[in-house]
């Protein structure tokens, strides 16, 4: 299997707070990785470090066996793209917003999208099912549709690795399930590698091939859902007691919460 991303002993953070330290892991092509940890565990910092927004203090990150700081920026952004949690701009149409994802592919002094760019965005809009929204303004669509739009925007960059930071957190269950299974479909059809952060442990266990548990900036455990979602790990991570069963249909771990009765 082909290693796509490798972190070697990475330590990074802002001045004195929100850090990640001595992170080591590799992910492989077509992995669907869930990252779990309490608030402040360093999930977002980890993503920002991978995206070169925060420079590591120590350690190295390799993408396709190449140090990410040696990859020219315009190449880098064609390979790794991130789905934004909320779309800051309000007044562009869905189509125009998605088109921004083609900017990294523009040639020097190319100002307008080509026919090919339009074909590509149409293909992805069809794939994610937002083509019918393409003339609507961003502020006219629902939050579920916004999330799909943000995913499409990231996809038209045609990345190999897609990062999603709590992209499903504020959606209802129906939309969460829809987006997570869509990602799985995209992974299979486009040979994507996906990393996504979660708060919902059951969804993570259900959809991801592998799970990384982050605690206080360090990796607590990395492995298959069966190996990571255990009583002991959850207690260590969140300081709560849970009961873990198997989902009768999918055989994936399923967490039952036990309220603290004191």
């Amino acid at each position: 299997m082909k290693k796509i991303l490798e972190l070697k002993n990475v330590t990074a953070g802002y001045e004195n707070y929100f850090y990640i330290s001595e992170i080591n892991f590799s992910i492989f092509k077509k992995d669907y990785i869930g990252i779990i940890g309490p608030n402040g565990a360093g999930k977002t910092t980890l993503f920002k470090t991978i995206l070169k927004i925060i420079k590591p203090i120590k350690g190295e990150i390799f993408f396709n066996e190449q140090n990410i700081y040696k990859i020219p920026n315009n190449e880098f952004v064609k390979n790794i793209s991130v789905v934004s949690t909320n779309i800051e701009t309000q007044f562009f149409s869905v189509e125009d917003y998605v088109l921004f994802g083609r900017i990294p592919h523009f040639k020097k002094f190319q100002f307008f999208e080509t026919k090919k760019d339009l074909e590509i965005i149409n293909y992805y809009m069809e794939l994610t099912g937002i083509k019918k929204l393409k003339n609507k303004k961003i502020n006219e669509i629902s939050s579920g549709e916004k999330q799909l739009t943000a995913i499409t925007r990231a996809l038209v960059q045609e990345p190999k690795l897609l990062l999603l930071d709590e992209s499903t957190a504020h959606l209802d269950l129906n939309h969460q399930l829809h987006i997570l299974s869509l990602l799985k479909k995209l992974r299979d059809e486009l040979n994507l590698t996906i990393m996504i952060t979660f708060h919902n442990l059951n969804l993570a266990a259900e959809f991801c091939d592998k799970i990384i548990l982050l605690k206080e900036g360090k990796i607590l455990k990395i492995g298959l859902p069966d190996e990571t979602i255990t009583n002991e790990n959850i207690r260590q991570l969140y300081n709560i007691n849970v009961l873990i069963e198997k989902n009768k249909i999918t055989k994936k771990p399923n967490i039952l919460f036990i309220p603290d009765e004191k």
């Binding site: 995206l51 920026n73 315009n74 800051e88 701009t89 562009f92 900017i103 990294p104 100002f111 080509t114």
Partner: protein
């Protein structure tokens, strides 16, 4: 050709036509009545009969430079306004919130106070204004570099503080100056398009056009910036470089225009907002449109300023303020300007 390009070319053509019509109006109308037969004769012929020389002079040595200057200043101010709003992702920013215009103001006031304009030459007036603007830019840069250039709120805050500081300095200079200089300063502060020196007009016209070309090169980056810094980074945009280049560019543009025609407010705010409402948020068309429409807007305002109480003349800043304010409030309440 893709549809968007066609649409944009159409928008630009319409604006150019409006601009030409507005310019012809401003050329024809004024305190001095021009015989319309002569008017067209002058436009198409080079040989002027001696008895029409005064009309010819009014048209080509008073009105034409004024129209050119009005166009250039309007274009420059609204172009700088739209660029700054994009850089700071803040719809209320314009030339006067960044402290650059304030610096130019202090420069010109000092000049008038020390009488360089009388002793050396009137040419020192725009030069001192420009030097003041550049001094402001350097000070803002030095502070911003110490902090974090990445954070646009820092620059914005420094700019706002700086513009308050410079307006206090201007008030101080006013209060200690003699009456005659005071008048000069106040007149300059209100803004005027009386500069008829073609040399200055050409300099600012060429610079502003270069400014338009440079900013257009970054139009897609400005679009990406509207998605937020982090998303722009992930689209491969070198945010810091763009902010530095375009901030310096706008400082030069504002410095030049303020030093030649004083403080003309509202153009940098009203035109970009008005156009966003009409043609959308894509900077590829917005930059060019702001340039053309900003110019046309100031030509109209100047026409009103010099005809409404003719033969006397109102300060142009008053007209832009009143017209701009009324349009802005109207749009804001009726059609939802989004701040």
């Amino acid at each position: 050709m893709i549809e968007k390009k066609k649409k944009y070319i159409k928008i630009i053509l319409i604006q150019i036509i409006i601009l030409i019509i507005v310019s012809l109006f401003a050329f024809y109308f004024g305190t001095a009545k021009i015989n319309h037969k002569n008017f067209f004769y002058f436009i198409f012929n080079k040989n002027i009969p001696a008895n029409y020389l005064s009309e010819y002079t009014i048209l080509f040595y008073i009105r034409l430079p004024r129209i050119l200057l009005a166009f250039t200043i309007g274009a420059t101010l609204s172009l700088s306004g739209v660029i700054l709003q994009a850089l700071f992702r803040n719809p209320l920013v314009d030339s006067y919130t960044t402290g650059i215009a304030g610096g130019a103001g202090v420069g010109v006031c000092l000049n008038i106070l020390f009488r360089f304009d009388k002793i050396i030459s009137i040419i020192t007036l725009p030069i001192s204004g420009f030097l003041g603007a550049m001094a402001a830019l350097i000070i803002i840069y030095l502070i911003a570099f110490k902090k974090n250039f990445f954070n646009t709120n820092n620059i914005l805050l420094i700019g706002v503080i700086f513009s308050f500081l410079s307006s206090s300095i201007i008030t101080l200079l006013l209060s200690i100056s003699k009456l005659q200089y005071m008048n000069n300063i106040i007149y300059w502060l209100m803004g005027s398009l009386n500069e008829t020196n073609y040399f200055f007009i050409y300099i600012i016209l060429i610079t502003s056009f270069i400014g338009l070309v440079i900013s257009f090169i970054f139009s897609n980056s400005l679009n990406a910036l509207s998605l937020g810094d982090e998303e722009a980074l992930n689209l491969g945009i070198n945010i810091i470089r763009i902010k530095k280049i375009l901030f310096t560019l706008t400082a030069i543009l504002i410095g030049l225009s303020v030093s030649i025609s004083g403080l003309i407010g509202f153009v940098g705010l009203i035109i970009p907002h008005f156009l966003r409402l009409l043609i959308g948020y894509d900077y590829k068309i917005l930059l060019v449109s702001c340039y053309l429409s900003g110019g046309a807007f100031l030509i109209i305002c100047d026409l009103i300023a010099r005809t409404i109480i003719s033969p006397a003349e109102l300060p142009i800043g008053v007209i832009t303020g009143i017209i701009g304010g009324i349009i802005f409030i109207h749009l804001f309440s009726k059609k939802k300007i989004n701040l």
